[in-house]
């Protein structure tokens, strides 16, 4: 019987180990397949073309700058919304809100995280865009700004949950010390708690930005999809097109193995690298090595 027990234990331990390693394997595989399908671009499209500002695949213009620009403008806009609202909400939830309010609000923030992006895009098209067009007197409501607004909203839950965890993790003694020398709760929040949670809050912002850059369906539906290199602040109120939207919109129609196909994978590779950069940086901030140092009962 002990034999069986040991064998069973060994097998299950193996399986668990493999499951544990799987995340690394998947990241590797994703990168590999993006390289495999994306790198041929560098042979097929000359570099000048690739970094030009004209994206018109039908005539073999594969300048990805307008797409990078579109992603950039929309992401900056989204960040300007998500950061203050996300952190404000996180501070409110962690430090100010009474318990019952928190119990209601937190699940609602989670609902926002779960709203399918296609539903938001759909409403953005039908409700928000016409509203903005009328109100801002624009030729079209499908603009980078519309995308930024929605993406900002969609990035908020990420910012809130990470920032709130970070604020929660600040030891109570810090706050007590500040309150004890006569600071108000408000001063304590700004001068003690938030600075102490700085690294976590930074991570929250970065992950929020990452969320915004990667969002696809919503931007594709509401941003107007014009691959034009943005110049100046005005660009915010004109149609734009992101890297993600380009892939989503065009991949369905390209022939497997064509130049256009490879370029789309190439863009995917760029997106992957951007998110890798953001997330690796963020994760180095996160790792304060939370060890489990609970000694055995003694």
């Amino acid at each position: 019987m002990d034999r069986d027990l040991n064998l069973g234990e060994m097998i299950i331990t193996r399986l668990i180990n493999i499951a544990g390693y799987s995340a690394i394997i998947f990241v590797g595989m994703i990168f590999y397949f993006l390289l495999r399908e994306g790198l041929p671009t560098l042979n097929e499209v000359n570099f000048g073309n690739l970094v030009s500002n004209r994206w018109y695949p039908i005539e073999a213009y594969f300048g990805i700058l307008p797409l990078l620009g579109g992603s950039l403008v929309i992401t900056i806009g989204a960040t300007l919304i998500a950061v203050p609202f996300g952190i404000g909400t996180a501070v409110y939830l962690a430090e100010i809100a009474p318990r019952w309010v928190r119990e209601i609000l937190k699940p609602l923030v989670e609902v926002l995280a779960g709203l399918p992006s296609v539903v938001l895009g759909f409403l953005g098209m039908l409700v928000l865009a016409p509203f903005l067009r009328k109100y801002l007197q624009l030729p079209t409501g499908l603009t980078a700004f519309t995308g930024s607004l929605l993406l900002g909203g969609m990035a908020i839950p990420t910012v809130v949950s990470v920032a709130e965890d970070a604020i929660d993790a600040v030891p109570k003694s810090y706050r007590d010390a500040s309150l004890a020398i006569g600071a108000t709760k408000w001063q304590t929040i700004w001068r003690v708690t938030l600075p102490a949670a700085k690294s976590g809050v930074t991570t929250a912002i970065m992950l929020g930005v990452g969320r915004a850059i990667g969002e696809t369906m919503t931007v594709m539906m509401v941003s107007g999809n014009a691959p034009v290199l943005p110049g100046g602040i005005r660009a915010l109120f004109k149609p734009a097109r992101t890297m993600t939207a380009t892939i989503a919109a065009e991949m369905g129609e390209v022939a497997t193995g064509s130049v256009h196909y490879h370029v789309l994978f190439f863009i995917g590779m760029v997106l992957f690298l951007i998110s890798l950069l953001i997330n690796i940086t963020a994760s180095f901030v996160v790792f304060r090595q939370r060890q489990r140092q609970e000694r055995i009962l003694s």
């Binding site: 331990t13 609602l108 539906m221 690796i280």
Partner: protein, 288 residues
């Protein structure tokens, strides 16, 4: 005197500050509620037995959305089949087995990265690996696998958190009465962490159910007025269907669009509600 005035000013500031933050929170929350209510109001008139259980007709401009509902259900199920055992296994590894070293650190960084990869890039990956390289074609199988990898990080991190929350003392006691490590995990740790794990699983699957970009090139059929009958079939799916009828089909009745949005939202939100209920129930009945 001045000191008192200073104090008054400081508390006034605090009051204003609190006001500001609470209005920000409200501004964050209100649109969510508004979105949900608006879709319910606009979509409700479209809902009928025929709409739910019927097949699309007249180039999707009439009839029902049954194939899309079934497709989303299959995709969610398929995602669960792959991601749940793998995700829970990885969480167990991280919480119970992983040594504290660089390699484990690398696993954690990989998980954070998986969580951050744009959904459309998952779509590309699924196309490259499952659809083309492994030759699954655009199919439920290819889509489920793609979605499963995408949901892994959510499941792993929530499940790991739930496992870690189980007091270490239980493990020590169990080992001390002669249980093996796995027996301890299976009989003590997993049951105690189950509600937390379930919450994570449901939240992960909720994301999978609502995603469009990863299935664009891996499963989704634009229009396929029959039910899939094998994992290697393509299928319609609710999120993609909503995308199609709201952007690609001219002359689409608005009512059907809102109705589809409502069905999708109901699908996703009910998962959300179930997760929330499980979590709060478990918190209330926890013995430690």
């Amino acid at each position: 005197m001045t000191d008192q005035k200073g104090t008054r000013v400081r508390y006034l500031k605090q009051r204003l500050g609190f006001r500001l933050l609470s209005s920000m929170a409200i501004l964050t929350i209100l649109p969510i509620i508004a979105v949900v209510i608006y879709i319910v109001i606009q979509g409700a008139p479209a809902i009928s037995r025929e709409f739910i259980t019927g097949f699309p007709e007249d180039g999707m401009r009439a009839g029902g959305i049954w194939p899309a509902i079934v497709g989303t259900f299959y995709l969610t199920l398929g995602t669960a089949i792959f991601s749940v055992p793998l995700g829970i296994g990885a969480a167990i590894y991280l919480s119970e087995y992983a040594p504290q070293n660089r390699f484990t650190q690398m696993i954690r960084i990989s998980i954070i990265n998986l969580a951050g990869i744009p959904s459309v890039v998952y779509g590309l990956f699924g196309l490259g690996l499952f659809v083309l390289f492994l030759n699954f074609g655009t199919s439920i199988l290819a889509g489920s696998l793609t979605l499963a990898i995408m949901t892994l990080p959510v499941i792993i991190s929530t499940a790991e958190e739930a496992l870690r929350a189980v007091p270490q003392a239980f493990r020590t006691v169990s080992i001390s009465v002669g249980a093996t490590k796995w027996q301890t995990i299976r009989r003590i740790v997993l049951p105690e962490a189950l509600p937390g794990i379930l919450t994570g699983v449901i939240l992960g699957l909720e994301r999978a159910a609502g995603e469009t970009a990863p299935i664009l090139f891996t499963v989704a059929a634009f229009f396929l007025p029959r039910l899939p009958n094998s994992p290697l079939d393509a299928t319609m799916a609710l999120p993609y269907h909503l995308f199609v009828i709201s952007t690609q089909v001219p002359g689409m009745p608005i009512k059907i669009q809102y109705g589809t949005a409502l069905v999708l939202l109901t699908f996703v939100l009910s998962m959300n509600i179930i997760a929330t209920v499980i979590r709060s129930r478990a918190r209330a009945s926890r013995q430690w």
